[in-house]
């Protein structure tokens, strides 16, 4: 029962591995006219599902932050902790794979004027800030309130990131799934779907395991405090 989170995460990781393999070997190649670096386009099968998983994690971070801040729920704080770590992991996967793809396709790994790139990177940096910042502070209501506030305000970037390519398409391409243009080949869509499901399972497992770990950490701290009080 207690290892369910890790088991789910392992299942998701296996799915992510399968996605990677299918994307690199099985998925059809794209038209040489549509892309400058058609082979690099295969990064898409890792890049898009990791972005999806990161957005899920940022959503969970928002929920955890809100419920801690307004309801003082212990589970919500654990969700905040676990989802910020999950958001950092998947956010870095997405940014890193995007830089590689960008370097091949655009000739530059980054564009400081592209709103989608920058707001997404900012969300990843926010996760990094929350993870490192929390480790630098003793646990307590002040620490939790401050980081929960950052988690809540940071979520403003999520809708910005989502609509960025629709309103201000600068360099990052617009949506390719569920659009009226319907430009995605069915085999490509299948691999992408497997990727999205796998990364969703991975992120859920990661968050479950993270929440359990945080619970154990807090319990350990309580036991340490009790031991110190009793030995006085």
């Amino acid at each position: 029962m207690s290892i369910r989170g890790e088991a789910v995460a392992l299942l998701g990781l296996a799915g992510a591995g399968l996605t990677f393999w299918l994307g690199m070997t099985w998925a059809p190649s794209v038209s040489i006219d549509a892309f400058k670096a058609p082979e690099a386009q295969r990064i898409f099968y890792w890049h898009v599902p990791s972005a999806w998983a990161a957005m899920l994690a940022f959503g969970m971070l928002f929920v955890g932050s809100i419920f801690w801040f307004f309801k003082r729920s212990e589970w919500a704080w654990r969700l905040h902790v676990a989802s910020s770590e999950a958001g950092l992991a998947t956010g870095l996967m997405c940014v890193w794979s995007g830089c590689i793809w960008g370097a091949a396709e655009w000739g530059v790994p980054w564009d400081w004027t592209d709103i989608r790139l920058n707001t997404f990177a900012m969300l990843t940096l926010l996760s990094l800030y929350l993870v490192l910042g929390r480790r630098s502070q003793p646990d307590g209501v002040e620490t939790r309130d401050t980081f929960a506030a950052f988690g809540m305000y940071g979520f403003v970037l999520v809708p910005f990131t989502y609509i960025a390519t629709r309103l201000w398409q600068i360099r990052h391409p617009g949506p390719v799934v569920a659009t009226s243009e319907g430009s995605l080949n069915s085999d490509m869509g299948t691999v992408l779907l497997i990727g999205a499901i796998s990364f969703t399972v991975l992120i859920i497992g990661h968050v479950m395991a993270g929440m359990r770990l945080t619970k154990l950490e807090l319990r350990l701290e309580d036991l340490q405090n009790r031991y110190e009080e009793e030995s006085r």
Binding site: W112, I115, Q137
Partner: protein
């Protein structure tokens, strides 16, 4: 209703609950002393009353004005405050600090003389001994009542720490004198002389005894016109910290770019970016006054005076504008629009970084969080301005 009113406050600090639905009311002309072991919650009561601590439940009111409640509502009114930390920046001047605390002009030199600080009136607080600095902090807490004929609340947290016996006696007598003037005083202390000067003593956890102090005699200090503090700009002029931090960073950026690039060969977007980059770097260094307020927890005291953190935003506009002028001169492309953009971009960036840092002040180790991890987002608006202006 009392001058100081804490209503059913529940406060958590760290992982423990310090106050649980606790109330206290202090009337005009009353001195209430909080006493008890270290860590029992005396400072929490003082800081909650001053609105410095967020509460789970309840509210704090002073002179009928809501100071803070559990819904996050904040308000401010005139009251005196002396915390356990001195809460004074080292570069503040002794006389100036007392006037800032009073909020109006008055004969500060005679007051300082009675407290043995007359000869230090023009000195920076950093030059004083620990005991002298403590006396300045105490006077900052007491002076709003000394210059007011209306009842004013005074909150003092262990004011006697670091004071000699004579000074403690003088403090106890002053508390009685202020009470005679109708002011309401809440003081946390272990000192027997301070405890003896109280009308009520609340021994934590919450047994209350009545005192029988001698009566004091209040004499009002004649005050003049109201005083504007402008503490950020004053401190910046005195310390030049804006130039030393933000300005130098901007100049170094310009120097580094000049070492790598030939400005005469730049054009279009690259030229605009070259001119605006030093202002961005200067802004990314953050609010230089914020760093000064971290000394002795001065930000907490200033937070009770104004909702806007001490800043030198007008000076930042000048500094960032001057750096942009310099970058423009180097390139030979002198455009007023670009210079104005550099000044505004730099100042806005500085203000945002300052606000991000300010948001972490509740943490027990605000210096340990890497708030600068969040600053790359500020490159986006800069890059968009560069794109727009280079068209």
């Amino acid at each position: 209703m009392g001058i100081i009113e804490l209503s059913k406050v529940t406060v958590r600090r760290g992982r423990s609950q310090v106050l649980d639905s606790w109330s206290v009311s202090i009337d005009s002309g009353e001195v209430v002393c909080l006493s008890g072991d270290n860590g029992c919650g005396k400072s929490t009561v003082i800081e909650t009353a001053a609105g410095l601590v967020s509460m789970e439940k309840g509210s704090s009111e002073i002179s009928g004005q809501l100071i803070r409640d559990s819904e996050g509502r904040r308000g401010r009114t005139k009251f005196g405050l002396c915390l356990q930390d001195d809460c004074i920046m080292g570069d503040e001047l002794v006389g100036e600090r007392i006037l800032d605390a009073a909020g109006c002009d008055f004969d500060v030199s005679s007051l300082l003389k009675t407290w043995g600080l007359g000869h230090r009136i023009h000195d920076r607080v950093a030059m004083l001994s620990g005991g002298q600095r403590r006396r300045v902090a105490i006077l900052s807490g007491l002076v709003p009542a000394m210059v007011s004929s209306e009842p004013v609340a005074i909150l003092l947290d262990e004011p006697d720490s670091g004071l000699d016996d004579d000074s403690v006696e003088q403090l106890a007598q002053t508390l009685r004198d202020l009470a005679a003037g109708g002011h309401a005083i809440l003081v946390a202390s272990h000192n027997s002389k301070i405890i003896e000067s109280a009308d009520r003593v609340i021994q934590f956890p919450f047994t209350e005894t009545k005192g029988d102090p001698v009566k004091g005699k209040f004499s009002l200090l004649e005050s003049g016109v109201l005083r504007k503090t402008n503490i950020g700009h004053r401190m910046n002029l005195r310390t030049l910290s804006g130039v030393a931090n933000n300005g130098i960073a901007g100049l170094l950026t310009l120097g580094a770019m000049l070492a790598m690039l030939n400005p005469e060969q730049l054009e279009g977007r690259t030229l605009t970016a070259f001119i605006l980059a030093p202002a961005l770097t200067a802004g990314l260094c953050g609010n230089s006054i914020h760093r000064l307020t971290l000394e002795n927890r001065a930000y907490a005291w200033w937070n009770t005076i104004s909702a806007i953190p001490p800043n030198a935003l007008f000076h930042s506009l000048i500094t960032c504008g001057a750096i942009t002028v310099l970058a423009s001169t180097v390139t030979g492309d002198f455009d007023v629009k670009l210079i104005a953009a550099g000044a505004v971009l730099g100042a806005c960036t500085e203000a945002i970084v300052g606000l991000l840092s300010h948001a972490t002040l509740r943490l027990s180790r605000p210096n340990a969080v890497m708030v600068r991890l969040l600053t790359p987002i500020l490159i986006l608006p800069w890059a968009l301005v560069v794109d727009t202006l280079s068209v």
